[in-house]
Every structure is written in C-alpha cells, then in structure tokens.
C-alpha cells in the first residue's frame, strides 16, 4: 500500500502544480495595445485627437469622409463633371450622373459609414479629453479641433442626407440599438450640432501661425461657420464671420491660380498650405503609405486605352458644360481641366502638362477631360514609395481664402453691402478677368468656376435653390434629389427605424 500512496501523492502533486497557477490562463493579446493599456498613457487623449485627424484620409472605394467618393458624389451629381472612366465601369457612380440613384448605392453607404466612424472617433476622443488632466487651454484647444472636425462631418452628412442619427457621445454597448441612435434627428437638429461644434471651435482655436500647420485654426472654424450660416441664410452672421477671417490678415490669394494645387511653391507662391489655404488635408510620405487619401489623385487621373503607363482610373471627368462656363481668357479654365487633344492630325504632341508630362492624344486615352486639380505630378512632385499609384500624396484643399471672399461677397450682396463687388473682383482679377458687379447671380457664377472640381457644386446648387433648373436635364427631380438616399443596408440594420428620404 505504500506504493499506491507514493504514486498517488506524485500524481496529486502534478495535478496541483498544473492547476494552481491561476495566471496561466490570463493571457493578454500579443503585440496589440488594449484600450486599458492605451489609456494609461498620459498623452492618450492627445493621441486620440490625432486619430480623429486621421479620418480625413478615409477614402478609396471604402469608408470615406472627404476623399475620392466624396469628390465623385459632389461633382458627378452636378453639372461640373461626368462619370468618366469606361462606360461600364462603376455603375454606382453612373447612378450619380443621371440621378437613377437607388438606396443600394454603395457610395452613400461608404460615405455614411466613413463619416460615422470618424464621428465615433471624435466622440470617444471628446469623452477622454474631458476626463483628462490637461491644462484648461490645451484641453479646450484639443476639444476645439475635434469638435471642428465633427462639425465638418455633420455638415457633410446633413447636406448629403438631410436629418441623420445624432450621435454626439459614446453610447454604452446596450444603448447602441436604442431609438435614440437608430432614428433620424431632423436636419434642423443636426444643423444645431454643426453650429455648436463650430462655434466652440471658433471660441477655442488659435489663429493660423499659433498652432502647427495642419491643425484646425480659428480661421478655418470661422470660415466653415460662415459657410454654414450661408446655407441657413443667416447672412449677417455669415458676413461677420467671413469678415473676421479677411480682417485677420492671415490669408491672401495666390497670384497664379494654377499654383494653388501644386505640391511645391514657385517663387514662394502656391504649393501645399499656401497663403490661400484655410483648411486642407495634410498628406505625407510614410513607410506604409498610409498618410494619404487613397485614390483621390489617380482615381481622377487620366485613363489610358493601352500603349502608355496611364495615370489613373479617369473618373470625375469635367463636363463640356463646365468648360463652356469659363469666360474667355479665364486663367482658371486650363488650371482646372486637362484637355485631351484629338487623334487627328496624326503625330499630335498630345497634352503636355505643367511639369512636362505628356499625355497622348485621344486614341490612347479614355476620356476627353480630366480634373487638373487632382493631378499629382509623377515627375516633379513627391513620388509614392512603391509602384502603387493609389497612394499619391495629394493634399486636398478643403477651404480656400477665395471661397471665404465669395462667402463674404454673397452675404454682403444679400445684406446690400458694398463688399460684395470688392471681394468678387479680387477673385476675378486674379483670374485675369475684368471687374464685374457683385450681384448674387454674378457671385454664384463666379463660385462655380472658382471652385470647380473642388466638390462643392452640387451642394451649392441645392443651397441656391436652382438645382432642379440647372440639373433637370441630367435627371434631377425636385423634391427628391436635393438629398441622397439613406443607404438601404443602414435602414435594414436599424430594423426599419431609419426612414427613407422621399422618392427613393
């Protein structure tokens, strides 16, 4: 019996050894930072703000904020651009061109998801910032930056869809499915969010120069807030805010319009973050090529039909109508549109771009016109690291001083103030055009050519109340197409609590 005891003891010891180590089963994820670990970093709140800026890169054919699909949605739906590319390519974009939009259109699902993902990051970041122990001024500046971006994103959503779910805090997991978040707020309620967020930003952000380039500034917040007031026809506020920007003395027009969209300045003028830039997406070269708005440049780049290494997919082709909209001698026309030369006469030199890059004539090129403002020179501007053309580091100009001048002019015209003509002519004279009178019609006409292919035209036409007149020939139906369809998949996921926009 001694034997049994001995072996049973050994066995018991083994069992004990193997079961007593309670920690044995506590294994944290390897090589991944858990939220708890991340929040133990005193700079976590600031890093979360960085994560919100990162959402400005959301693009390609996926979740998007201000990237490629945003550009398509605005320009193709307007009279500025046709779908481009080959006729059969990307039917979702073709729906924009002739207003045969369906609720299943993936572009809007991606815009919806992209914006809400960005908003969720902003909400989380605000939540952590408010608990942080930063000095009050730092905390408010960071809060201002995040709320500026959230305001911008809700401004996009309300213009795309009208009222949308109002999510301005982090829901508990159990709350995610509640009516509060799964039903649409009114457009008015969303505009209130936009106004509050942007006003907070105006009140707390530093002026340009007092904060690193790329971070949201007081001027950017004022400009956007002025624009929102223009949409709300509160011309006095739009006027005051844009005047503040003008009077700040921080901004000036780049003398040569074409240089606005280059990467590098020429003789100190133009380039990224030029004197005219109020807010722009800051791209850069990093190893993973992740600091870019993917496909923004080559998605709109000239598309070949074989025989040469083309520049892109050829979407968002500027329309003949846009080309016709320029007055003679307007320097902006050839800075906005790449015109492809006809096949004949034979041996055409094709189109030679500003950097010397030659695009062959029409027989080797899919479309007649391309967006010059999205062009990123493969010869003279920062190359992407790899062969992947999708990752061209093209900064997207979201708000320019020229637009601030035109906002101010429009507000002034509505208020009967003389600044309307002054500001309009500042913009015109830079484009080598004679002076004109600051009527609302003239200002609207100027907005089109000044901001063409900068993805604002559709929203502008709806705001101005002339979308059905201007876009009727493309298939626009009044009472329906002022907003786009709520994505069907989101309606389904809400259990039909999200209502569809009329007519879809």
């Amino acid at each position: 019996m001694i034997n049994i005891k001995r072996y049973l003891i050994i066995f018991t010891v083994l069992v004990t050894i193997m079961s007593c180590s309670k920690d044995f089963l506590d294994v944290d994820p390897q090589g991944q930072l858990t939220e708890i670990q991340a929040l133990s970093d005193p700079n976590a709140a600031e890093k979360l703000v960085g994560g919100v800026y990162n959402t400005l890169y959301f693009g390609e054919f996926g979740n998007t904020t201000v990237g490629f699909l945003y550009a398509l949605a605005n320009d193709i739906a307007s009279d500025d651009a046709d779908k481009g590319s080959t006729p059969s390519d990307y039917p979702d974009a073709a729906q924009l061109d002739n207003f045969t939009l369906t609720a299943g259109n993936g572009i809007f699902n991606n815009l919806w998801n992209g914006h809400y993902t960005a908003i969720a990051r902003a909400n989380r970041s605000i939540d952590i910032l408010e608990q942080s122990t930063f000095e009050e001024s730092v905390k408010n500046r960071l809060l201002g930056e995040v709320r500026f971006l959230r305001g911008l994103y809700y401004f996009n959503l309300v213009r795309f869809f009208g009222g949308v779910p109002k999510v301005i805090r982090v829901p508990d997991p159990a709350e995610g499915n509640s009516d509060e978040f799964q039903t649409r707020a009114t457009a008015e309620e969303i505009y209130q969010v936009v106004l509050e967020d942007l006003q907070f930003a105006v009140d707390n952000l530093p002026l340009k120069g007092a904060t690193p380039v790329g971070r949201a500034t007081k001027g950017a917040a004022q400009s956007y807030l002025a624009k929102v007031y223009l949409y709300r026809k509160d011309f006095q506020k739009a006027y005051d805010l844009s005047r503040d920007v003008i009077n700040s003395g921080q901004y000036s027009l780049v003398p040569d319009y074409a240089l606005i969209f280059r990467e590098n300045p020429v003789n100190g003028a133009g380039g990224n973050n030029n004197s005219e830039s109020v807010f722009e997406v800051q791209t850069g070269i990093n190893v993973g090529e992740t600091a870019v708005s993917k496909l923004y440049s080559n998605g709109q780049g000239p598309r070949g039909r074989g025989g040469w290494n083309d520049l892109g997919f050829g979407f968002n082709s500027p329309s003949q109508d846009l080309a016709n909209a320029y007055e003679a001698d307007d320097t902006r026309k050839n800075a906005t549109i790449i015109f492809i030369t006809p096949t004949l006469p034979a041996n055409s030199p094709g189109t030679v771009l500003w950097d010397g890059y030659r695009i062959p004539s029409k027989d080797s090129v899919e479309n007649d016109r391309y967006n010059y403002k999205a062009y990123h020179s493969p010869l003279l501007e920062s190359p992407q690291l790899t062969n992947n053309k999708d990752t061209k580091p093209k900064n997207i100009r979201l708000m320019r001083y020229a637009e601030v001048l035109l906002i101010n002019a429009e507000a002034a015209a509505n208020l009967g103030l003389g600044d309307a003509t002054t500001n309009l002519n500042l913009v015109r004279s830079r484009a080598n055009l004679p002076a004109s009178v600051g009527t609302i019609d003239n200002i609207w006409k100027e907005r089109r050519v000044e901001l063409a292919m900068e993805h604002d035209r559709f929203f502008d036409l709806v705001r101005q109340g002339r979308a059905s007149t201007v876009l009727g020939p493309k298939g626009f139906v009044a009472g329906r197409n002022e907003v786009f369809p709520i994505p069907q998949s989101q309606i389904d996921l809400s259990g039909n609590r999200l209502t569809q926009n009329p007519g879809y």
């Binding site: 001995r6 193997m18 944290d28 390897q30 090589g31 991944q32 890093k47 600091a291 025989g307 989101q490």
Partner: protein, 1009 residues
C-alpha cells in the same frame, strides 16, 4: 505491416491489462508452434508475451517460438485478426497453440483519446483506417488518403502539392470559427498533419460523435482525428523500404476558344449588340499567335516517394527509425515541392512496471508556390496573343487588360521552407495491477520561412520584356519579402487509470489533468530593389526606401480536467461516461471555463444467452450516446477592446501617430457548443464475412460565432461584430458495410461500401440577419446563409431559358432584353410580389456546396501472389458556382469553346447558352452547376515475389506494384474540379483560381529484409 499492428496490439494490452506482482519463481524455457485453428497454417509474427511482464518474442516464419517464463506463469498469444489467448504454463516446456480467427472489426482496438479500447466495448461512433490503406495512396497528406474510406467524413482535396485537404466530419460544424477537426498525433494536439509520413502511420482513428469526442472538450466540435505512429517490436531488426516513382498531370481541363472562335464571338457581340465596331481586328489575328494558355502554363510533373525504416528491439527496449523523402513537381510551371521526414520512436522498459517512451519526428519541406491566379488569367487571356517568343512575352494587358499568366509565374519566386519537430515523451507506470499512471509531454515546434522575390520588369524601354511595348503589366522595382513564423506548442497530460474486474463487472476509470500552451511569432520584412542574384536575396541587400518590417504574435493557453468511466457487465452491457472541464485564455475570465459531459450506452446483444443458439449473427450491438463538445477556434484577442495605433497625420510636415478605439468587441464572447445524439447498430453475419455499422446522428450547434453587420452609426471600423449569435444543426445517417471472402485456391477478396447522408440547416440566426458571402466579380455576393437553409446557400436569380422572340420579351420583366438573352424569373419586388423588374429581390435559394450524400466503394482482390485494390469516393447533392465563367472582367476576355460553339444565334435557337454578350451577366443559376462527382481515387496492382525465391537473398518480402491516383473522375461539372477548398464555410463551392485535379501514375516496390 501486419506484424507491426500486432505489436501495437500487444503494447496496448500490456498497458491496459493488470500487472501481476510476480514472486521469485523457477524459470523454464517454453517453446512451441502457433497455428490457425481452422486452416492449421502456421502463423508468422504472433506476439508471445509472459503475461504481466514485458518479456516477449514473436513466432518465426514457421510459426515457432521459444520464450523463458516462470513455471507458473501465463503466456499471452496475440495476433491481429485472431482472438487473443492466455495459456497457463503449468510447468510445460512445449505449448502448441491454435488461435481462432476472430472478427477483425470486433476485436479491433481503437484509440479513443487518452487511451485505447476494444472496438467491441466502444459506445460512441469511432472509425479506424489502417496505416497500410493510407500509405498505399501516393499522396502527401494522410487525410487525403482516407477520402471515401470512412462514412460521414467528407474530404475536399486539391491537386496542389503541399495542400492541406479540408476535412468535414458529419457536415459543416461551424460558420466563422475554425472548421478543421482536431488532430492528435501520438497525443500531441496539432492543426496540421502534412509533416506526418503516411508510411509511419499505424492507424488513424476518427472520433465522430460527441460521446467519443467529448474527452477533448472545447476543441472537439469538428471531430477528432487520432494518429498513431509505428513502434518497434522485440526481435530481430526489420528493414523495410517502400518507394514509388511516378508522373502526374492535370485532368479535366477546360477547353478555351481558339483565336478565330474567340474573335467571332467577341465581334459578333460587339457588332450586333454593342457599339458596332469589330473589337478584334483581322490584323490583330493575323499578327498574333494561337495560344492555348493552359498548355503553356501546365506541365507533367515528376513525383517520387521513398521510405525506409529500421525497427526491432530487445527485451527491454524497442526502436523504430524511419526516413522518408517525397518530391512532387506539381502540374504547373515553376511549382515544386520536396519533403524529408525522419522519425525515431523508442520505448524503454526500465523494469516490469515502468516504461519510458520517446516518439520524435522531424520534417522539412521546401516548396515553390504558384499564384493560383495564373489559372484565372489563363482563362481570360486572349488566345491570339503569343505567350512567349524567345525571351519576350505576349502583352496580354494590351489585348484585354489581363496579366500574362506565364510571366506571372516566371517573374515571381515564392518559396517556403518549413521545419517541424514533433514529439511525445511519456512515462508510464503500473505500480499496481489495477493502476496505470501516465505523464506525457507533447511538443510541436514549427519554423516556417517564406521568402518571396518579385523580379523587376518593364513594358517599355531597354528593359522591356514584351513583344509589344506598353500596357499596364510592369514592376518598376524588384521586391523581396521575408516572413519568418515560429510556432511553439506544448501539451502536458497527466492521467491515472484504475482498472478493476470482479466477476462479470469490469470498471475502468480515468482521471487526468492537462495543460497546453501555444505561442506564435511572425516576423516580416519587405525591401525594394533587391538585386536579382539569388545570393543577394536578403533584406539587407535592398533599398531603405519603402522598407517595411513587422512583428506580430499570438499566445493562448488551456488547462483542463478530464475523466472517463467505462463499465461493462459481461461484455454485454456497456457504459461510458466522460466529463471534461476546459479553461481557456481565449475567453474572458467570467466565461472562461466550459464543461463538457457525455454518456454512452451499449448493448452487445450477441453476448446474451438467447443468442447462443443462433448462427445468423456473429456480432450484434446497439449503442446510444449523447454528448456536448465545444469549439473555441477564434482569434485570441476577439474579446479585448484593442486600440488601433500608429494612425498617422501630418502636422507641420512631420508625421504624428495617433490612436483610436474603433473596434467594438463582444466582451462576453464564448465557445460554440455542439450537442449530439447518436444511435448506432453494429452487426456481423455469416461468420463475420459481412459486417456493418449504421449510425443516426442529430447534432445541434448553439451559440455559433458569426460576424454580424452592425449599424454604421456605432462607428466600428469594419461594421462587423463577432458574437455568439447563431444556431444550426446537422442530422444524418451513416452506413458502412464490409464483405470479406476467401474462395480458396488463393483467391480472396473484400468489398467495402460506405455512404452518408447529411442535412445541414441554420435554425437560429441573430435576429434573422442573413449572412452574405462569396463575392464574384461585379455580381456581388452569391451566397446567403439564412434560417431554414444550409450554411453557405447559393442565392441567385433563377434563369429560365432563353428569349426567342420580341413578343416573349415584351411580355416579360426584362423589357430591354434581346432575343438570345437569358430570361430570369420575376419572383418578387419591394412589395413582396413580382414587380415586373428583375433585380436583387428576385434572387432565390438554390442549394449549397455541402453535399447531401457522400460515399465510397473500396475493394481488394488477391490471387495467390497478385494483389489488386481499388478505392473510390463520390458526393452528390452539392452545387458549384462557376465563378471564373461568371466573372467576366473585361469585354475582350476569352471564353470557353462550349460557349463560343453553342451560343444562341437566330440560326441556333435551340440551345441553353445565351447569345454573344460582352456585358457581365448577373448572378444566376446559369452559372450554378451540379457538384456531384464519382472518382476512382486509387487503383493498385501488385505482385509479391515468392518467398522461396527471396530467402536466397535474405529478403523477407519483395512486392512490385503499379498504382494510379485519381484515375478517373465522373462529374457533370464543367469547370476544373468540383472539389473546392474555400476560406470559409459561408462561401464554399465558388470555383475561381482552383488548382486542377491531378492524375498520378506511379510504379513502386516494397522490400523487407
């Protein structure tokens, strides 16, 4: 082979029988002859052991043995296929013994997990395949060789060298989590058995029902495959050599249109139905070649397999050494695979109650992989473009925007080298006759290196590699990437088994505890501009610009307690009850522990008194079992809220790295639970010439993990939420029948038939949210998994013939169609009724890839020294989506000859192939085909040279054979193969980029010394 199996049987007996404490006794030498009780033929290789000791010998070629034993000892004679006999010595020096041939099935010993059991006593559903039946087939993975041999086990194999076949035991057992069964090699838990040399396998035991698998608890829901490797046996050294040399080629290829057929179709489509111009000009055709792209990328591959083993042992030790080399060139250019395996299985009996064993194997493989996209590119590439002339390639990207498949193969060099060390080191102690203690440590170390080099090539200028410059296929910088993975797994089992026999009562009770750890580390780097010279294929030789490095890892642990009670009364009434408690790091601490019980009951009716007088049955058993098992195969960090880090943004021109919390995890995630009921009948007739098994099972999986799509407003990065939110069931019947007959005059034959029916059905999806998967080109998702349907059901438009006239079109829902177009059924609309529009709402369920029936037929026929065997496998009731045909990416893509030839034209209206059309067609049943097939997996004809001839050369055995693997496949499916390995059960059966089935002819020899 037989002798080895015998040895295993004896080892098992040694381990399970009580050890008698021996007192000092007079030792005498006992000798004699062992013969077959019926035929009186002498039996060679019978294991003769002094009961209660490890002293053993085997009978020689004349059936003679001689052994030293105490005068009062008992000697055990055991031989596979015969009833084991215990004979008391009682002082006799001569013992001639006759062994009774027994039913092989019922005396069979099966491995059941942490032990073995007589098949007769098993109350669950367990099937065994013998090593010799696995080794016969010239394939890499042992699982491929069991295809068609076990009822209810579906094996989906691939022709690719180094591929791991998909194994499904009793239907699809999961939706999102790992769907592979658990592999246990000599007690080591692993997920891949491609390192195991089939020649080293004694048997593979497949545990099918939950009562059998419950002992493996949380890992067992997909079934358990137990592999036992060979060991040596006491006696002289046995040397065996087995080798095959053969060639393999692709079968069942798809015929593509030639240049004229191609141009005819494309131009007809564009001239009559498109823009009007001829897309393929006569000049293009005249200037071009006539390329059969498949011909140009495929080859006949050479395959060889050599194995040598040395085994034997003394009184206290046994050894088994083996070495194996296998090479397989595959059937596509640049493909190649080689594997070396070494094994050393040794056992040391320290004394009569203590044994140490060490089973260790090393394997190494070198593979050059091919990108399977080459098959798709070959399907698409225009046939008038030459593939390669001299050193220059045809420029297919100019013809129809597709890469040249041959260039793709030749300009990429993707190699893998794997080194794996696997072993079990165990201590077995029998301190008392009724107690066995075992401590075993299993290790599995895997080292994998994957260097990929992409050659630089240009499409213009001095480095141009094309016949015509231009296009978009180019690589401006060479690239080199290296992946280095290390996996380390160990499992430590400690078990105690108590055996008590008292009268008719036999009780065995096992308790144990196991601990398991898994760690994984992956290091990757990429560099551009690494020189072409192979000696410089190192990361350091590349450019720092664009360099990337990454290092990730994984770790999981498990701690479990196991117990099993076996009770039998007079071998008549059987009870098995198991219970396993599993604790795992994969789940949050509050639901970390899972408890998995099972119970099985058996009744050996044949042992009843009332059966004594009948002669009809020689075996009859019914059994019933119920058990619960789990599946925890989800990524280890699923339940952790993880921060996304290194999110860049540029401030002041320099990169700032932010973070975000954008992934919503289910912090309450847990394992999937499968509850299974099994009812089985085992029988034998006519002196066990006919034996069989019938099983009915009902398997319910609850809390299956799925990714549910969540509303965008929650801001989850991918809008997916992994949670336990689905239930489904598999129900089915399995039948296996075996007939063995000896007609005398040296003629013996056997026929085995097995078949299974399985019905898979989703019973409860989260809030009814169906899961879409299987994206095909512009057609979108083609599968939908929803309540009441099998997992991964195809969900497409219902094609309904071809429009012939304008009147038909006017009366249809497709007003813009043209004669010759496919007609689709208008099934529904936004209001739930037909709406006169054909859109996604008109899609309907159309079957799934999962076969309803799987079956196999296997036979052997021996005539004197000739042996012949055949094995086959088939499935029925599954569907395959021909995605390569469905996903036309470019209007100028090539098409199949069948389509070009049989297309609808006004002159050929009686056809089921629609008109020439360059536009992509919507997903419909037109692309869905029957996936049924029947294949002769293996056919072998062998001849064994007569022993009289061989003894002169001291050769004990010499057999030569020819074998054909995948000799013929009969299938209505028009694509490469209906056997499709998919990434997930949700998208099974979508054929795109599949390695074709291969046929191998080989010649081989078996030599024994």
């Amino acid at each position: 082979m037989k002798r080895l199996s015998t040895f295993i049987t004896s080892v098992v007996l040694l381990l399970t029988l009580s050890v008698h404490v021996l007192f000092a006794q007079e030792t005498i030498t006992v000798s004699g002859k062992v013969t077959d009780a019926a035929t009186k033929e002498s039996l060679i290789g019978v294991t003769v052991v002094v009961k209660g000791t490890t002293q053993g010998v085997t009978t020689n070629v004349d059936g003679l043995y001689s052994i030293k034993a105490p005068a009062n000892a008992t000697i055990t004679f055991s031989y596979l296929g015969y009833t084991t006999k215990d004979v008391p010595v009682n002082g006799a020096t001569t013992l001639n013994v006759q062994l009774e041939s027994s039913s092989e099935v019922l005396e069979q010993v099966v491995v059941v997990g942490y032990g073995t059991q007589r098949k007769k006593d098993v109350t669950g559903s367990v099937s065994q395949v013998k090593g010799e039946d696995i080794a016969r087939e010239p394939v890499l993975a042992a699982t491929q060789a069991i295809q068609g041999k076990v009822a209810g086990v579906q094996i989906i194999s691939s022709g690719a060298p180094n591929s791991a076949p998909t194994v499904r035991v009793r239907g699809t057992g999961t939706m999102l989590a790992g769907a592979n069964p658990l592999y246990v090699v000599d007690g080591v838990i692993t997920d891949d058995i491609r390192n195991i040399n089939s020649s080293d396998i004694v048997s593979m035991d497949i545990l099918k029902d939950a009562s059998a698998t419950a002992i493996y608890g949380m890992r067992a829901a997909n079934g358990v495959l137990l592999i036992t490797t060979k060991k040596g046996k006491s006696g002289e050294m046995v040397i065996e050599y087995n080798g095959t040399v053969g060639a393999k080629q692709a079968t069942h290829l798809v015929n593509m249109a030639g240049p004229n057929q191609y141009a005819g179709y494309i131009n007809e489509a564009n001239v009559f139905y498109g823009t009007g111009e001829e897309l393929i000009t006569p000049e293009q055709l005249a200037a071009g070649g006539n390329t059969d792209w498949y011909d140009d990328i495929l080859k006949t591959g050479f395959q060889q397999n050599h194995n040598i083993s040395f085994s034997g042992g003394g009184e206290k030790t046994t050894y088994f050494f083996s070495a194996g080399y296998l090479s397989d060139e595959g059937i596509i250019n640049t493909n190649n695979f080689e594997r070396l395996t070494l094994r050393s299985n040794n056992e040391y009996h320290i004394n009569d109650w203590l044994k140490i064993s060490g089973l260790a194997s090393y394997s190494r493989f070198d593979v050059r992989e091919v990108n399977l996209d080459a098959f798709n590119l070959s399907y698409r590439a225009a046939p008038y473009v030459p593939s390669k002339v001299g050193d220059l390639y045809g420029n297919t990207s100019l013809s129809n925007n597709v890469g040249n498949p041959l260039l793709n193969l030749e300009k990429n060099d993707d190699r893998g080298t794997g080194n794996k060390v696997q072993g079990t080191f165990a201590l077995d102690a029998n301190p008392l006759p009724w107690l066995t203690l075992r401590s075993s440590l299993g290790v599995d170390l895997d080292f994998y290196k994957n260097p990929i080099y992409g050659y630089r090539f240009a499409n213009t200028g001095p480095d141009n590699v094309f016949l015509t410059e231009g296009g978009n296929q180019l690589r401006t910088n060479s690239s080199y990437s290296l992946k280095d993975n290390t996996t380390n797994r160990w499992v430590w089992d400690n078990t105690a088994t108590f055996n008590r026999t008292s009268g008719d009562h036999n009780i065995s009770f096992l308790v144990g505890v196991t601990a398991e750890s898994y760690t994984f580390n992956s290091l990757t780097g990429t560099r551009l501009d690494v020189p072409e010279n192979r000696d410089q294929w190192y990361l350091a030789a590349g450019s720092p610009i664009g360099a990337t490095n990454d290092n990730t890892g994984d770790k999981a642990t498990r701690n479990s307690y196991i117990s099993r009670l076996n009770y039998s009364f007079a071998s008549r009434y059987l009870l098995t009850a198991t219970f396993r408690a599993d604790g795992t790091s994969r789940f949050p601490s509050e639901n970390r522990w899972g408890y998995f019980p099972s119970v099985g009951l058996g009744w050996n009716i044949i042992e009843e008194d009332f059966m004594k007088d009948q002669n009809t049955f020689t075996a009859l058993k019914i059994r019933a079992s119920y058990g619960q098992v789990g599946n925890d195969q989800i990524p280890t960090s699923t339940y952790f809220p993880i921060a996304a880090i290194n999110l860049p943004y540029f401030f002041d021109g320099s990169e700032y790295l932010g973070i975000s919390f954008n992934q919503l995890p289910d912090e309450n995630v847990q394992w999937e639970t499968t509850k299974e009921f099994d009812f089985g009948l085992e029988f034998g007739f006519i002196n066990n010439q006919l034996t069989g098994t019938v099983d009915y099972y009902d398997k319910k999986t609850e809390d299956a993990l799925i990714n549910i799509v969540i509303p965008g407003i929650l801001g989850d990065t991918d809008n997916l939420f992994t949670t336990n939110a689905s239930d489904f069931s598999n129900k089915g019947v399995e039948v296996g029948l075996n007939w063995i007959s000896d007609l005398g005059n040296g003629i013996k034959y056997s026929i085995g038939v097995n078949g299974a029916y399985n019905k898979n059905e989703i019973t409860g999806l989260n809030g009814g949210q169906a899961l879409f998967d299987g994206s095909v080109g512009t057609q979108g998702f083609v599968t939908k998994s929803d309540n009441g349907q099998p997992i991964g059901s195809f969900f497409v438009l219902q094609s309904d013939g071809i429009f012939q006239t304008a009147e038909e079109i006017a009366a249809s829902a497709q007003k813009t169609a043209k004669p010759g177009d496919l007609r689709y059924k208008d099934l529904s609309g936004p209001a739930g009724t037909p709406d006169g529009v054909i859109d996604a709402l008109d899609r309907d369920f159309s079957g799934s890839y999962q076969p309803k029936y799987t079956y196999g037929v296997n036979g052997t026929f021996n005539y004197k020294l000739f042996d012949f065997s055949v094995s086959s496998y088939g499935t029925a009731g599954g569907k395959v989506y021909n995605a390569k045909k469905a996903a036309r990416a470019d209007t100028r893509d090539n098409l199949e000859t069948e389509i070009a030839k049989n297309r609808w034209t006004p002159n050929n209206p009686q056809t089921d192939v629609p008109r020439a059309n360059l536009a992509p067609l919507p997903a419909s049943t037109y692309f869905l085909e029957k996936g049924d097939f029947f294949r002769i997996n293996n056919l072998t004809l062998g001849y064994t040279l007569p022993a009289s001839f061989l003894t002169k050369y001291k050769i004990s055995k010499l057999r030569a054979f020819v074998t054909a693997q995948n000799l013929a496949t009969i299938t209505p499916y028009s694509g490469f193969t209906p056997e499709i390995i998919s990434t997930s059960p949700l998208n099974g059966g979508i054929e795109a980029g599949i390695y074709p089935t291969t046929r191998t002819y080989a010649f081989g020899v078996n030599i024994g010394f």
